[in-house]
């Protein structure tokens, strides 16, 4: 694939006349033969064919997957009682029914198309060793205590898990207990992960990515986690081991991760990318605005370039809170408060203060990226969006009516919603705050590692909080309402513009504003659609971040009120029975929209947000099926949504 692209670039160089240079030669000899203009033209489809589908080579299908799943090989997952390994995780994602760690039969409503198992690189294999009571574990007083607690099981096991995670995130994990890269135990864990991925990867049918999570927690527990996804097979991935966070081998600084990723590519010729998640638990560190927390100095051009190079995507929604937007940052967006986790950092050891928020949420980070681009020459936060679960049960469940919780202790049971999920002093999170979210939609040409990874790299992806709605988003300079009336918007989309994740080309002439073609089709077994919004972020002439949410197209012929706001779509949720009806909302929404406030001198970024009508939240299904009485403050329904990767506009300098 990569090779092909290079060849194409070479060919283009051959045939495009360079101004000022001599006329290009009519033929060119390469080491695979002589090229002339006719031969060169052959692979490029002629513009018009009689049969319309014959010209289509753009992605026609969206593939669904989870890029972030933990199995029993992750130490915290194991400690919470997860006994399902890699094989079970893959089989489940492929649609098989199996028995969960707590003995419950479980199956996905629909199989996924791809999965990345991303166990924590630190202490990979720690838990199996602890459980087996390896002598070096028991020689340490803390290790012995944890071992005993886990052996006792139940509440004790959960307590041990919390202590383990806490010790880790505070940076005082007993050194004697570390499972370190380079040891035989560590290497065998990594090889098992690779072998399982190789076994279940079936090009064309199911893609199993090799991956891991680099779980960087800057003390006292600020979340800078990234998952790392390999494009390659085991032959390459096995040549290096995952990067960890504990010194001296590991580090909690993203720059060090990027160095290791570079070293991997240099050594193997492979390709790899990293996806950050849970900025909401980073306490102001995920998307630094001015100062790099690792160095205490202003961010540099080098930082921006390297980050943009390795991190093309951001996981904008998952079980530990939604990360698209926060009401404090987006006071004019009444739909911005979705499933927030904003009390503190990952272990609640430090409470959240409002000034941290600007460096935590995707929407604001996209705008900060524009500011930094003006200053540093590169936009470090030029990321696309995906959703994933971060489930620790080996079960990739993101549907509210089939939610198996964050960890084995939170698989369906009558107390999972009403018990505390985590507490630190006066700060706590309740079980009901877990979010049944999310999945990654990827517009790829085929279901293979290469095709899906390449689509992720070019950001032709979107995040959903669980439902599988189909979303198209294109930007260009001449989309018109007529394009929204054609039967295949993608035809117009790819012909006249760039898809989600792309850059607007330079405006064709002065005074033109960018236009967007956006379309969404409901999940065939989900709720109807409420509306599509386009969120615009920009930096004004004074260098200040700005944003505006535009309602672009909505259901049921509603009229915008005198206050300029679209009235809510309504609500059909019957909480007591955990049901809803598709009597409101639309099956499909589609529109062409032109930015009414465009200023060609200002950098801008646009993405689409698609909202479903309200549907029951997992807490409503728990209340109904398990006979649980939920407290008054527990939300029982919500509006699930999708966030597309953005399209950027950069003025000519």
């Amino acid at each position: 694939m990569r090779k092909t692209r290079i060849v194409v670039v070479m060919l283009l160089c051959l045939v495009v006349p360079v101004p000022g240079a001599a006329a290009p030669p009519a033929t060119a000899t390469t080491d695979i033969g002589t090229l002339d203009a006719t031969t060169v033209a052959k692979p490029f489809k002629s513009k018009t064919t009689y049969s319309p589908p014959a010209g289509w080579n753009y992605p026609r299908r969206v593939y669904w997957g989870d890029t972030h799943l933990h199995t029993s090989a992750s130490m915290d997952a194991g400690a919470f009682g997860n006994r399902l390994g890699f094989e079970e995780a893959y089989r489940f994602a492929r649609g098989e029914e199996l028995t969960s760690s707590t003995g419950q039969r479980v199956k996905l409503a629909r199989p996924l198309d791809f999965l990345a198992i991303t166990d924590h690189s630190d202490n990979m294999g720690f838990f199996p060793a602890l459980l087996a009571g390896k002598p070096e574990m028991l020689a340490d007083a803390t290790g012995k205590r944890w071992h005993d607690m886990v052996q006792k099981g139940g509440e004790h096991g959960v307590k041990a898990a919390l202590e383990i995670i806490d010790a880790f995130s505070r940076g005082n994990f007993p050194p004697a207990l570390m499972s370190l890269p380079g040891t035989a135990a560590y290497q065998s864990s990594w090889k098992q992960i690779i072998a399982a991925a190789e076994k279940y990867n079936e090009p064309g049918r199911f893609t199993a990515f090799i991956g891991y999570e680099w779980t960087s927690q800057v003390p006292p527990g600020n979340n800078l986690h990234r998952v790392v996804i390999y494009r390659d097979g085991g032959d390459k991935a096995v040549q290096t081991e995952p990067f960890t966070t504990y010194p001296p081998q590991g580090s909690t600084t993203p720059e060090d991760l990027w160095k290791v990723l570079q070293a991997y590519e240099d050594k193997t010729g492979g390709r790899v990318l990293a996806i950050a998640h849970n900025g909401n638990l980073s306490n102001g560190m995920m998307f630094p605005v001015e100062v790099n927390p690792a160095t205490g100095k202003p961010l540099t051009g080098e930082y921006a370039k390297t980050r943009a190079r390795w991190e093309p995507l951001y996981e904008a929604t998952q079980m530990k809170g939604d990360g698209e937007a926060h009401p404090f940052l987006s006071p004019n967006d009444e739909l911005a408060g979705y499933e927030l986790w904003d009390k503190g950092n990952l272990n609640l050891s430090e409470v959240k203060t409002p000034e941290m928020l600007q460096a935590e949420y995707a929407r604001t980070a996209l705008q900060t990226g524009l500011q930094l681009e003006a200053k540093l020459g590169t936009n470090p936060y030029k990321f696309g969006m995906i959703g994933s679960t971060d489930s620790h049960t080996s079960l990739t469940t993101a549907d509210d009516d089939n939610f198996f919780g964050k960890h084995a202790g939170a698989e369906p049971n009558p107390t999972r919603a009403t018990h505390e999920f985590m507490r630190n002093g006066d700060v706590f999170l309740m079980g009901w705050q877990q979010v049944a979210s999310g999945y990654a939609g990827v517009w790829a040409a085929d279901n293979t590692r290469d095709a899906i990874w390449d689509a992720m790299k070019r950001k032709e992806t979107y995040a959903t909080t669980g439902p599988r709605m189909m979303v198209r988003f294109f930007g260009g300079w001449d989309f018109t309402p007529a394009d929204a009336e054609t039967r295949s918007p993608a035809d117009a989309g790819y012909t006249k513009g760039v898809p989600m994740g792309g850059d607007l080309p330079a405006p064709p002439k002065k005074g033109t504003a960018p236009s967007f073609l956006v379309a969404a089709l409901k999940d065939p077994i989900g709720g109807n659609l409420d509306r599509i919004e386009i969120v615009k972020g920009w930096v004004d002439a004074a260098g200040t971040r700005q944003e505006k949410v535009h309602d672009v197209v909505w259901s049921d012929g509603r009229r915008v009120g005198a206050d300029g706001k679209l009235p809510p779509v309504g609500n059909t949720v019957d909480v007591a029975n955990a049901t809803f009806t598709n009597t409101i909302g639309d099956t499909e929404l589609i529109a062409a929209w032109t930015d009414p406030d465009f200023d060609p001198k200002l950098r801008a970024v646009y993405y689409a947000r698609v909202l479903e009508i309200p549907t029951p939240r997992w807490t409503a299904y728990d209340a109904k099926r398990l006979g649980v009485t939920m407290a008054k403050d527990v939300p029982m329904f919500g509006q699930e949504r999708a966030y597309t990767s953005p399209i950027w506009y950069t003025p000519k300098s």
Binding site: P111, L521, K522, G526
Partner: protein, 293 residues
Amino acid sequence: MLRRRARELLREPLFHFFALGALIFLIAALRAAPAGRDPGERRIVVTAGDVQHIADGFARTWQRPPTATELAGLVDEWIRDEVYYREATALGLERDDAVVRRRLRQKMEFVVEDAVMGAPPTDTELQAWLDAHPDDFRTPATLSFRHVYLDRDRRGARAEDDARALAVRLGRGGPDADIAAVGDAIMLPTDYDDVSAPEVASTFGDAFAEALATAPVSAWHGPIASGYGLHVVVVRTRTPGRVPALADVRDAVVREVTAARRKRMLDDAYAALRARYEVEVDPAAGAATVAAR
């Protein structure tokens, strides 16, 4: 004939019992072989191989060989382990230790697993499995079809009648009838070529996919309901799923055969070992401690 006998023998728990016995004997013999490894003996020999092993372990962690001082320290540590190990086992300290018991059970299971997994499955065995479980490997049915969408929201109560009328009208044009401007707009393509049934189900919903599986071929038909609304469809071709040749699904069959064999072997091996013991559980023992429910 002989081969079948052999296969039956392989399944025999008694055979496993003997095989295991032989294996344990072999392991014991091998372990006893190097001089100085008997816990009762008062001689500890650190061989060149042992030292190499220790040094290799260090190098894997630190990405460099140990210095002389480091290596001496590591060897001392190894000897210390060995001394304590021998003394502890001599005192029987491992016997009532839950951790050691669990660990040894695990090691034993690994040993059994390695031993019983044996040779990779033969083609005959794979073919037999494929024949016995054809549905696990059947390729999905594929079909080519065209559809016209009718929006229930827009058409309300008329939608069903409209669909029926449309099916009749399109029927006059045949499977290739021009549908570019018929029905209501939807983002989905109108023509699907060679798509698998699961793919249809994931795009349109299960009920729609099932209806297409029995719809007449080459005739416009409808309405069929999907998660979006109503559709009038014509199935052009339908290829039923088939059980592929072993060569095409070899990896998948090996995966299943090995998984099944592993489970059966471990169960059998345990049963064989278990049969060597007479187990008595004091019937009154649990009564006092079992939680009341």
